[in-house]
């Protein structure tokens, strides 16, 4: 581990413990069943991916884990306690950080401020101490800024970017800043919603390596939604496939790749064999 790696407090769990468990989770919007009776577990230290065609319910599933939606049915257990029905900020405080599919930075705030906002739940300063500017508050603020700068360094943006408004950053840098902001919440579980969307192949490769580093260096557990199969197959320990809100397959990347249901969901019936061969070829080409 290099010296500049910011420390994220370990929760004391050992690799292999179940960190997040979803049982029979269902979300209905009126008559539409967006997510249907999904069981899902992720264990400490895993990188897991959720894939599926557009509209399969992946983001809805994410939004239930992060508290934006409340599941219609089913239970969600994180680190031993139920999180279904909690508000997003409570879930963040419990230790789940996230990024968004369409980047949702605070566009007019600086890069540094974006990261500092991520630290909100980890800072203690209350109203009266802030108005009185007690030594504790000053100290906390100084430390928070130093840590935010470290995080900017860690995600590869560098400290020089700190005073830049988020909206002025390049697309790839904005994605990195979103990760830095999510890391600032000190998560145990990090949810990345299509982290490589809109990136060119070079940036995608960089992001893939980076996600692996997050797990290896910070000991994070990571759950991805991803469309880029090369990324998914390259870094995932487990892959779950959603189609029309239902989980149709789950397993190692290799198992999922050869599952007939998955191929059918993605490519429709017929032509499946041919496409599967292509897919395998591409993934071999990349590993080579």
């Amino acid at each position: 581990m290099s010296a500049q790696v910011p420390s994220i407090p370990s929760n004391g769990s050992v690799n292999g413990n179940v960190l997040l468990e979803a049982k029979g989770v269902t979300k209905r919007f009126g008559g539409l069943v967006a997510v249907n009776n999904v069981d899902f577990t992720i264990t400490q230290g895993q990188i897991a991916s959720v894939i599926g065609p557009n509209g399969a319910g992946k983001t809805t599933f994410f939004n239930m884990i992060t508290g934006i939606y409340t599941p219609t049915e089913g239970t969600l257990t994180f680190n031993g306690s139920s999180i279904a029905g909690l508000k997003p900020n409570q879930i963040t405080a419990a230790g789940i950080g996230r990024t968004f599919q369409n980047i949702r930075l605070f566009a007019n705030m600086t890069a540094l401020e974006n990261v500092l906002v991520g630290m909100h739940t980890r800072l203690k300063a209350g109203l009266a101490p802030i108005l009185l500017q007690t030594p504790a508050v000053v100290h906390e603020e100084v430390r928070a800024r130093e840590r935010a700068l470290q995080l900017l360094d860690y995600v590869g943006l560098g400290r020089r970017i700190a005073p830049a408004a988020a909206r002025n950053l390049s697309y790839g840098d904005q994605r990195r800043l979103e990760v830095a902001r999510a890391l600032a919440t000190e998560p145990k579980l990090l949810l990345l919603d299509e982290p490589t969307a809109g990136m060119n192949p070079l940036e995608t490769a960089g992001m893939t390596t980076f996600i692996r580093r997050l797990r290896d260096e910070l000991g994070l557990t990571i759950l991805l939604i991803e469309h880029d199969m090369l990324v998914v197959m390259g870094i995932s320990d487990r892959v779950s496939v959603l189609d029309h809100g239902t989980k149709i397959a789950e397993g190692t990347p290799r198992e999922v790749q050869s599952s007939p249901q998955v191929i059918e969901a993605y490519l429709g019936q017929g032509g499946a064999e041919e496409k599967l061969a292509q897919m395998k070829e591409r993934s071999h080409a990349r590993t080579a």
Partner: protein, 513 residues
């Protein structure tokens, strides 16, 4: 034309408008302001090679502005005054003298600013702050000396500046459009009125101390900020505005009607409060009167008509307000407000409790208007429900928008511009135009109907709201972000260039793979 001369002219032209209205020695105050203003404006446009160049540039800009003021002074004394039927009170010599003083002061102010802006970051800020503080402290004495009589108006203008600073928290930082902000002003003022008058039976001979009551008023206003904020929590944008508008209307009406308060126990009908005689809590339309004044050792009792203590009190309140608000702004809570304004969902996902953050914004905004309300009640010594109507909320909102949402300096500047125009410049313009009409125009019109029409229709004070509206419309079209939009403007601008280069570089690299 050099940039120094150009900025001098623009600052001078603004000052001349005021000098044309007031004449006499108003050029002295305006000279100082225009000189310093021109130099600051100049600094934002020019990179200085060295300090001497900055001093010379500032002095030039100041002198040019001063010369315009000199010209304005001559026009006022030798042309406008006779036209308005007033004898030329001052000889041309003294007009020249007043003008030259303005030129010298403007040039000196410009040079001083020039010397300060070329310092390093820290002394630069302290220097500019020092200049400002010196001007603020000297202003009432200067005003007395040159018999301008602006201080009472400035005091009432500064009350509105406090309110604008408070509203800026709600609208500027937290992005919650509040159209009923005058309600909290009213609550602060009425709390003060009740506690500092014999209205609810507090002994008039031994009134409570103003220094205690101002904090109570702020706390009560803050509490009502929470209470009135709570029902608006699920609302956004237009709907929030409508509900706050409703609260703004309700509060003065409640104060208007709390004249016969008696509370009965609901089941048995036993009287609990106001049994012998229903309590007249707020005095209805007539309001509460009199309200006692603050007392300080050395200064003694503050009196109506003695402006100095009041002036320094309101300046102190503003200083405290700015001090506290900037601490909030740069804290965890201030960042939460901004994040919530930018993207509520993302903010919530980053751990910010939206409910608490919104309520805190309402409460803090209301607290500062409580300070303003307490000062207002004691200063005017009487309050009526009519003072706190919708137009007050709108004016305060205009001040915030004109100056620049979320920027303390901008809000203060916007507040000063709007309220000074409204309270000082427009009435003076109205008097001047009326005098000119009466002496020089009306006698030349023969037709009585025409005469009547001109006399009634050419009255600038009637166009007050029209001018207001026009200013806002023009502002929204030309500069929607306000006069001073963003402190980090310069840094962001440079980063934008850097960011663009980075993007180009990545794109150039990509195909090479």
């Amino acid at each position: 034309m050099s940039p120094a001369v150009r900025t001098g002219i623009s600052a001078g032209l603004l000052a001349v408008v005021v000098v044309l209205l007031f004449g006499n020695l108003s050029g002295v105050v305006l000279g100082l302001l225009a000189g310093a203003g021109a130099a600051i404006l100049l600094d934002s446009r020019v990179e200085w090679p060295n300090r001497n160049a900055a001093i010379v540039g500032g002095a030039t800009a100041g002198a040019v502005a001063g010369l315009l003021i000199l010209v304005g002074q001559f026009i006022h004394d030798l042309f406008l005054m006779p036209l308005a039927g007033q004898p030329v009170a001052t000889a041309p010599g003294s007009t020249l003298q007043a003008g030259l003083i303005a030129v010298v002061l403007a040039a000196l102010a410009g040079a001083a600013v020039g010397a300060i802006v070329t310092q390093a970051e820290r002394p630069r800020q302290l220097g500019l702050l020092g200049l400002l503080v010196a001007f603020v402290i000297l202003f009432p004495f200067l005003d007395q000396q040159i018999q301008l009589g602006w201080t009472p108006t400035v005091i009432s203008v500064l009350i509105y500046v406090v309110l604008a600073l408070g509203l800026n928290i709600v609208v500027g930082y937290a992005g919650l459009l509040d159209l009923g902000y005058a309600a909290f002003f009213a609550i602060g003022a009425y709390t003060t009125g009740l506690l500092l008058s014999p209205q609810i039976g507090i002994n008039w001979d031994h009134p409570l101390s103003f220094w205690l009551v101002i904090w109570i008023a702020a706390a009560v206003a803050g509490l009502f900020g929470l209470i009135l904020g709570a029902p608006t929590l699920p609302l956004r944008g237009d709907y929030l505005a409508i509900v706050t508008l409703g609260f703004g209307e309700i509060v003065p009406i409640v104060f208007r009607n709390l004249t016969r308060v008696e509370i009965k126990e609901p089941f048995t009908g036993t009287c609990l409060i106001g049994c012998d005689k229903a309590i007249n809590l707020t005095g209805g339309e007539a309001g509460i009167n009199p309200i006692s004044h603050p007392w300080l050792p050395l200064v003694g009792q503050f009196r109506t008509g003695q402006d100095l203590p009041w002036y320094f009190l309101i300046v102190a309140i503003i200083a405290l307000t700015i001090f506290l608000i900037s601490r909030l702004r740069n804290s965890r809570l201030g960042r939460a407000w901004t994040a919530m304004r930018e993207d509520e969902l993302a903010a919530s996902s980053m751990g910010i409790d939206i409910v608490r953050t919104k309520l805190l914004a309402f409460a803090m905004g209301a607290t500062f208007s409580g300070f303003g309300g307490a000062f207002f009640a004691s200063y005017i010594s009487a309050i009526f429900p009519g003072v706190f109507d919708f137009s007050v909320s709108v004016i305060i909102l205009c001040m915030v928008i004109l100056g620049g949402l979320g920027n303390i300096t901008g809000v203060i500047l916007g507040g000063l511009i709007i309220m000074m125009s409204d309270r000082l410049f427009l009435p003076q313009l109205a008097t001047l135009v009326k005098n000119i009409l009466n002496t020089s125009v009306l006698p030349t019109i023969a037709d009585p109907a025409m005469k009547d029409f001109v006399a009634t229709s050419v009255d600038p004070s009637q166009f007050r709201l029209l001018l207001f509206g026009l200013t806002l419309v023009i502002m929204m079209l030309v500069r929607p972000e306000g006069l001073i939009p963003n402190v980090r403007r310069r840094a962001e601008f440079h980063e934008a260039e850097a960011g663009a280069e980075a993007t180009v570089a990545t794109e150039a690299k990509a195909p090479a793979k």
